[in-house]
Amino acid sequence: MDRDDLLSLYRQMLLIRRFEERSAEMYALAKIGGFLHLYIGEEAIAVGAIAALRRDDYVISAYRDHGHCLAKGSEADRVMAELFGKATGLCKGKGGSMHLVDAARNFMGGYAIVGGHLPLATGLAFAVTYQKRDQVVLCFFGEGAVPSGQAHEAFNLAALWKLPVIFMCENNRYGMGTPVHRAVALYSNLAEKARAHGIEAETVDGMDVLAVRTLMRTVVSKVRSAPQPYFVEALTYRFMGHSMADPSHGHYRTKEEVEEERQRDPLLLLRRTMIDRGMAAEPDFKRLEREVAEIVAAAVKFADESPFPAPTALEEDVYAE
C-alpha cells in the first residue's frame, strides 16, 4: 500500500470530521439554522466508496450529505456557505444542509424524504444506459430507508432492467432514535433484502476505509463492465445525535455504547494501521491537521463574509427558461 494514497484517504476523512465539528459550533452560534445532521463516525464509507469511482460517476445521497458532497470533491468554502444560507453556497443558499447539490461534479443531491431518492438513483442509471455511457451511480442511504416502499420499487426496477446503480446502505443502527431491530424484521442481514430482488449484495465494515474501498473497487468494476445493480451494507455508527437537536446518546442509547463504538473511530483505525506498519508517524498527522484546519477556517471565513441571497433571488430558479 502506498503511503501517500493512505494519507490522502486519511486527509479526506479528517476534512469531513473537522468541517462538521466546526459546523456544529456554527450551529450553536446560530450561523447555521434548521436541521444539521452530522456524519461524524461514518466518514470511511463516503471516502472509501467515492475513492473507487471515476470523476464522472454519479453520486446521490440522503439528508446526512455533507460527507458525500465533500468526498465527491466539492469546495469546502461553497459547502459551508450553503450551510450558512449564503448566496455563494453551492445552491445559492436555497438548498441548505440537507439539499447540497454540485451538478458540475455529478453530485446530484441530498434528499430529505427517507427512501425518496432511491428511484432517482435508478433514473440516473437508466439515463446512463439509455445514452450508452459507462458511468455508474452510487446511491447512499441509511438503513432506515430499507423497509420503505420506494426503496423496494427502486430495487425491483434496477434489477429488472439491469441498471448500473450501487445501493450503499449506511447501517448506523438507528433510524433517528429507533434501533434497526425495532424497525426491520430481517434486521441482522439487510443485504438479504436486496438479494430477495435478485441483486448481488455484500456487507462490509464501514469503519474501515480500506475495506470499503477494496470492496467498492471490485463492485464498481463489475457494475461498469456488466451493468447491474449492487447492494452494499456498510456497518457503521453515528457518534453524534441524529441531528443537532439530539444529544450524542439521548434516551435511546447509552453513553457506554457510544464510547465503545468510538473505539472503532474510522480515523483512529486508519491512523493505527499506518503507524503500526511504519507508513506514517505523528508529524504526518499533525501536518494534515494543520492543513485541514486551514481549509475549514477559510471555509467558515468565506461563508461568514459572503452575502445572503438578494431578495430578488426568492422567485428565481422556480422554473427553467
Binding site: 453551492l90 443531491g109 431518492h117 428511484p119 438513483a121 433514473g123 439515463a127 420499487e153 422554473y319 427553467a320
Partner: protein, 325 residues
C-alpha cells in the same frame, strides 16, 4: 384533418419522439398492450422497447426513475394509467420533480411530462373518478395543462415536450374518443395561453378539459334564449392566462366558472380570487362556480350524475346570473 383526441396525443408524442431521441415513454401497459387507452398505439413497433417501457405497477418507482433520468439529460413522458394512481407518485412529483431546480439553485432541470387521464368517466367509483388538478396547481415548480380538444391536446403536448420543466398533462377518459379538426403539418401551442372557444358579450364562462364541451353545449342553448356566452378555455391551468379571463370579464361583467373537481379549495376559487383582484370594478354580479360535489364519487348512476356538473346546472347558473331567474 378530423381526428380523435387519442390520435392527437399519439401524433404529438410520435412526432416529438422522431424529432428528439432523448424522449422516451414509460408507464404501465404503454408498450405491448398499446396503452390502457390505446394512446401509444404502434409505439413499441416504431420506437422499440428501449424507448417505450412497460413498467411494473409501481408509480412511485417508475415516476422517480423518470425524474432521475430527466436530471441526467433525458426527456421522459410518464404515462399514468390514470391520475388517481399518480397519488402514489406524489412524493416524487411534489418533493423531487417540482423542487430540484429550486433546491439546487438552478443547477438541475427536470424536463418531464407526466400525462394521463383525470376526472370521472362512467361509474368507475370513488377511487377512479377524481379531478386532482388543483393539487398539482398548488405546487410551485410544476406546470399544469388540461386541454379540451384534439387540436389543443396535440399542440400543447408537443410544446410540453420542448419545455425544460416538469409538466402535469391531464387528459380525460371521456375525451379520448371525441373528434376535432387538427391542423395539417407542424404546429405547437404556447403553454400559458388561453383560447376563447366561443365569442359572446353577456357572460363569460371559464371552463377547462371536458367541461369546455359542456360549456359550449350550454352556450348553444343560451344563444337560443338570447344570451350570448363567451367561453374561455385556459387550456393551461398553471401558469394561468389571467389576462385572457380578465379581458373577457371586462367585456361581459359576469363570470361563471365550471370545473369538475371538488368545490372546496378548487381551481375555480383561485380563478375567482384573481378576477376579484384584477377586475372587481367590472363585475356586475358575484362570480358563480359550478363544481363537482364535495363527496367521494358515488357509484350509483343517478348519484354520480348529481355529483358532476352537467348542462342543466351550467344553464341554471348562467340564467340566474344574467336574468336573475
Amino acid at each position: 384533418m378530423l381526428i380523435s383526441y387519442r390520435e392527437a396525443l399519439n401524433q404529438a408524442m410520435r412526432e416529438e419522439m422522431r424529432r428528439d431521441d432523448r424522449i422516451f415513454l414509460i408507464g404501465e401497459e404503454v408498450g405491448h398492450y398499446q396503452g390502457a387507452f390505446k394512446v401509444s398505439k404502434g409505439f413499441v413497433e416504431e420506437f422499440g422497447t428501449q424507448r417505450v417501457l412497460d413498467t411494473p405497477i409501481t408509480e412511485a418507482g417508475f415516476t422517480g426513475l423518470a425524474i432521475g433520468a430527466a436530471m441526467a439529460g433525458l426527456h421522459p413522458i410518464v404515462e399514468l394509467m390514470t391520475f388517481n394512481f399518480g397519488i402514489l407518485a406524489l412524493d416524487q412529483i411534489v418533493n423531487n420533480a417540482a423542487k430540484i431546480r429550486y433546491m439546487s439553485g438552478g443547477q438541475v432541470a427536470v424536463p418531464i411530462v407526466i400525462r394521463g387521464p383525470g376526472s370521472a368517466a362512467h361509474q368507475l367509483g370513488a377511487q377512479h373518478s377524481q379531478s386532482l388538478e388543483a393539487w398539482f396547481c398548488h405546487v410551485p415548480g410544476l406546470k399544469v395543462i388540461a386541454p379540451a380538444t384534439p387540436h389543443d391536446a396535440k399542440g400543447l403536448l408537443k410544446n410540453a415536450l420542448r419545455d425544460p420543466n416538469p409538466i402535469i398533462f391531464i387528459e380525460a377518459q371521456l375525451l379520448y374518443s371525441t373528434k376535432g379538426e387538427v391542423g395539417e403539418g407542424e404546429y405547437t401551442i404556447p403553454i400559458g395561453q388561453a383560447e376563447v372557444k366561443r365569442r359572446g358579450d353577456d357572460v363569460t364562462i371559464v371552463a377547462y378539459s371536458k367541461m369546455v364541451l359542456l360549456a359550449l353545449e350550454a352556450a348553444d342553448q343560451l344563444a337560443r334564449e338570447g344570451i350570448q356566452a363567451e367561453v374561455v378555455d385556459p387550456r393551461t391551468l398553471k401558469p394561468l392566462d389571467v389576462q385572457a379571463i380578465v379581458s373577457s370579464v371586462q367585456k361581459t361583467g359576469r363570470l361563471v366558472i365550471v370545473e369538475e373537481g371538488w368545490r372546496f379549495a378548487g381551481l375555480g376559487a383561485q380563478i375567482a380570487e384573481l378576477v376579484h383582484a384584477k377586475a372587481f370594478d367590472y363585475l356586475d354580479a358575484p362570480i358563480v362556480r359550478v363544481t363537482g360535489a364535495d363527496v367521494p364519487m358515488p357509484y350509483a348512476r343517478p348519484l354520480e350524475d348529481a355529483a358532476i356538473p352537467d348542462r342543466e346546472r351550467v344553464l341554471a347558473a348562467v340564467r340566474q346570473l344574467v336574468k336573475g331567474v
